[in-house]
């Protein structure tokens, strides 16, 4: 998705910087190898972007202009949570899921194209005031949770796995809306996804709340 966009817009002063919120060494490497991106693909083992930008899930993105100013704060990047409506026995999706998934992706990519073309004049580029309204809250619980996550991550990598796991669970308890923390600490299924029964229980517990936070962008489902 990002490689095609980068090839399309890369000569117009636009770059993609992809950051893997992956703590287990080696986990993102097969993906990077398969995608062979020509833009920078970085690895954020300690989830530093969580405390700097308020990242709580993937894919989330931030738009940053030529002067280094945040134009759109962290928000889901063209994602639609169709997986929640999957029939878990048959793995079938309702008919409209494919359409809504495509719509979310196309809406988001078109918005980026418009921003790259029109800059500040794009209807999708927030003014400073709008951008501030959309900033995620970096609370005492969030920064403490991130410190705990970093500690847990370090201990995991230095022979203190049980204590490391405890810190990551504690971090998740303190910042329950971070799927990055929870899924990083969770067990994974046969395809490497943190989508065991405990994941589905947690998703179901959202009820009417969104897995991907709503995006303030015209046309976004």
């Amino acid at each position: 998705m990002w490689q095609a966009l980068y090839e399309e817009l890369g000569d117009r002063g636009f770059v993609v910087i992809a950051v893997a919120m992956d703590s287990r060494e080696g986990d993102p490497l097969p993906w990077i190898e398969a995608a062979r991106p020509t833009y920078p693909t970085l690895i954020d083992r300690e989830h530093r972007l969580a405390e700097l930008y308020g990242i709580v899930n993937v894919p989330q993105a931030v738009w940053i202009d030529e002067a280094g100013r945040i134009v759109r704060p962290a928000e889901p990047a063209g994602a639609y949570e169709g997986f929640r409506r999957m029939n878990r026995a048959t793995r079938e999706m309702p008919e409209d899921v494919a359409r809504l998934t495509a719509q979310a992706k196309a809406t988001y990519l078109d918005a980026i194209r418009d921003w790259v073309r029109a800059g500040d004049r794009s209807e999708h580029a927030f003014t400073a005031e709008q951008a501030r309204v959309h900033l995620p809250a970096l609370t005492a619980d969030v920064v403490t949770a991130q410190a705990m996550f970093r500690l847990g991550q370090f201990l995991l990598g230095h022979g203190a796995g049980a204590e490391g796991q405890r810190w990551i669970r504690e971090a998740s308890r303190l910042q329950p809306d971070s799927w990055c923390i929870w899924r990083q600490g969770a067990g994974v299924n046969e395809t490497g996804l943190a989508a065991l029964p405990d994941f589905w229980e947690r998703v179901d517990a959202l009820g009417a709340a969104r897995y991907y936070a709503p995006v303030d962008m015209k046309g976004m489902p």
Partner: protein, 137 residues
């Protein structure tokens, strides 16, 4: 020996001594890891100086060492440590993080790519950047 994890990175400090509430670190190591230095006017980081509570100066800095745990409490910044006290994370306050974000100046960072080469966000100034996260999980 204590490992300090700070905004400046990871620091192994052989001369540090930690208990559950104190973290005495040689002044030179404290400065390298956190930027904080003990001066006659108090504890200073760059142009900012914070006076120690009157009469309790030696609880923060004493004998060429700084108690970073006490300093972090004094500054209202989060610090967490391992059960044995051999690893400490000294973080920035929520107030500072939120203020940095509210300035809308994209917080800078340096992260490695899959070959270990380091990349800095601000090296891309002059371009529009889509900073996008993903994960294998």
């Amino acid at each position: 020996m204590v490992t300090l994890l700070t905004d400046a990175g990871e620091f192994t400090v052989p001369g540090a001594e930690a208990s559950s509430t104190t973290l005495w670190v040689p002044a030179r190591d404290a400065e390298a890891a956190t930027g904080w230095v003990a001066k006659p006017e108090g504890l200073c980081r760059g142009p900012v100086c914070v006076p120690a509570p009157a009469g309790r100066e030696r609880e923060l800095a004493d004998g060429g060492r700084i108690d970073l745990a006490a300093l972090w409490r004094h500054l209202g910044q989060p610090a967490v440590h391992s059960e044995r006290g051999h690893v400490w994370v000294l973080a920035q306050s929520a107030r500072d993080r939120a203020a940095a974000l509210a300035s809308l100046e994209a917080p800078d960072f340096t992260l490695p790519d899959s070959t270990g080469r380091m990349h800095r966000l601000s090296d891309h100034r002059g371009k529009k950047v889509l900073l996008v996260t993903w994960a294998s999980w």
